[in-house]
């Protein structure tokens, strides 16, 4: 299983998948990098059949929105089909993308 890299506000401990400059919760400006377990449940998904040239060789593929136990919501990719509430885990980081598989 691969971890998800997060940015954690040192003021209120809220975690973000994307880098922040100003915390939307407490307006803090200091963040530290942390790692979270890459696992969770499918919140929603779409199976993409038509895409841009750089992803065309992967189609059809599934883009998923995943809720982790620690309260993060992350967009990732799976090659297989999924349903809402399926359990998934992150298996690798491909460039800047998180790749998941069904558990």
């Amino acid at each position: 299983m691969a971890n998800i890299q997060v940015f954690e506000c040192t003021g209120c401990q809220k975690q973000f998948v994307q880098r922040k400059w100003l915390c939307p919760v407490c307006k803090g400006t200091s963040f530290k990098k942390a790692e979270e377990e890459g696992a969770g449940k499918v919140f929603s998904f779409t199976r993409i059949h038509v895409t841009s040239k750089e992803y065309a060789h992967l189609a059809p593929y599934t883009v998923v929105l995943i809720d982790t136990p620690s309260g993060l919501r992350i967009t990732g990719r799976l090659s297989e089909e999924v349903q809402i509430n399926d359990e998934v885990k992150c298996v690798e980081q491909d460039g800047d993308a998180y790749i998941f598989e069904k558990v």
């Binding site: 994307q18 059949h49 038509v50 883009v63 929105l65 967009t75 990719r77």
Partner: protein, 378 residues
């Protein structure tokens, strides 16, 4: 503050303009609008456009309009706000007349999308997302965002694909009577259900097409004919994973709240609506966010025909983006063109006695929204 009225309208046919350039489409629409306004002295030009640079290697659209239509050494601007470029350009023109800076402003929108391969177009449209993110690198597409929204909407409300079909088929029925619309052939539920899949659950009929086209409007200080009652604009989330409620479009809701408040009106006062149905799913969310139906009930409203003539409020009587076509930069102005025609009583699919109309234009996956409210004062 000055009152602002619409004094000229221009539009080209939407669809494929083979052999015609972006510039000629733009100037055709502008010329029509200027002619209808009887060639007033124009103080400034705003042009809404999204991809003339990426697809056509053409910028300086504002200066081209001023130069080729002999408008003089006036200030001109190109406005980019993805699919809301036209609505945002219109708002700038309105505010400048309202504040007293200008008396007559030409606003135009244009896009030339046909001819480029689908993969190139998809890539160019993806510029309307935050591309410096893990989300983009996961392979999320622009339609994919609304596919993900639709699957969750189905899960939470019990809606299904047939509800998306009601939106698409309604807009097609209206487009049949619109002379500038891209798709004017009747479509059946069977056609809809058997169309190829783009991004599940959205098929071909759920997605607005690529189109060529232009629209233009002359706004003037005054209170004749159709006046602009108010303008609202808001920004929203730029990434799916950061949406606090995936089934909402906060920018639509907030831009509407601002426009309603400034006009002293509410959803119950609106007689006719053009809203941003870039996807069938977007229309269902937007009729909720604009306050016509309660959250989570939009799918029932479309099933009951409440967004057609004789319902609560007719929505997208032009055919909408889905069937009228969606030349991105022109869309916001084409919506306003149609609402003004409705309030003048000269529209296709005329809503009898329509006096107050609303136009809502969305950019990105909810990143921008404008709402304008109009009144026919005769």
């Amino acid at each position: 503050m000055n009152k602002v009225n619409v004094s000229g309208l221009g539009i080209t046919k939407f669809g494929t303009h083979e052999g015609e350039t972006l510039k000629s489409l733009l100037l055709d629409a502008c010329f029509q609008a200027l002619k209808e306004a009887d060639f007033p002295k124009i103080d400034a030009v705003y042009v809404g456009n999204f991809m003339s640079g990426s697809l056509g290697n053409q910028e300086i659209l504002g200066a081209i309009v001023a130069n080729d239509l002999s408008l003089g050494a006036i200030p001109t601007v190109k406005v980019e706000g993805a699919c809301a470029s036209g609505g945002i350009a219109f708002r700038q023109a309105f505010l400048m007349i309202q504040s007293g800076e200008y008396e007559n402003v030409l606003v135009a929108g244009v896009e030339k999308m046909k001819g480029a391969p689908t993969e190139v177009i998809t890539n160019a449209i993806n510029a309307a997302m935050d591309n410096d993110s893990n989300e983009k690198h996961a392979g999320l597409t622009f339609p994919g965002f609304f596919g993900t929204v639709a699957n969750r909407y189905f899960y939470e409300t019990g809606a299904s694909k047939k509800h998306l079909a009601y939106v698409a088929l309604k807009n097609r029925e209206y487009a049949i009577h619109n002379p500038i619309a891209q798709f004017t052939k009747p479509a059946t539920m069977e056609d809809y259900m058997s169309a190829r899949m783009i991004t599940e659950p959205l098929g071909l009929f759920d997605c607005s097409p690529t189109s060529d086209g232009a629209a233009a409007i002359v706004l003037s200080k005054g209170e004749n004919g159709v006046i602009v009652r108010s303008s609202g604009q808001a920004s929203g989330t730029t990434q799916m994973q950061e949406a606090s409620d995936l089934l909402s479009l906060p920018a639509v809701k907030e831009s509407a709240r601002r426009a309603y408040e400034k006009a002293g009106l509410g959803p119950e006062d609106i007689d006719v609506v053009e809203l941003h149905d870039c996807f069938s799913m977007t229309e269902i969310l937007s009729i909720e966010e604009l306050g016509f139906f309660a959250k989570g009930t939009g799918f029932e409203a479309v099933e009951q025909g409440l967004t057609k003539h004789g319902g609560v409020v007719p929505v997208n009587t032009s055919g909408g983006l889905l069937s009228k076509g969606h030349p991105i930069g022109a869309t916001g102005l084409a919506q306003i063109y149609h609402i003004v025609s409705q309030l003048r009583g000269t529209s296709c699919n005329q809503v009898e006695g329509a006096r107050i109309g609303l136009a809502q234009n969305l950019g990105g996956t909810g990143a921008y929204s404008t709402v304008h409210i109009f009144e026919g004062v005769k």
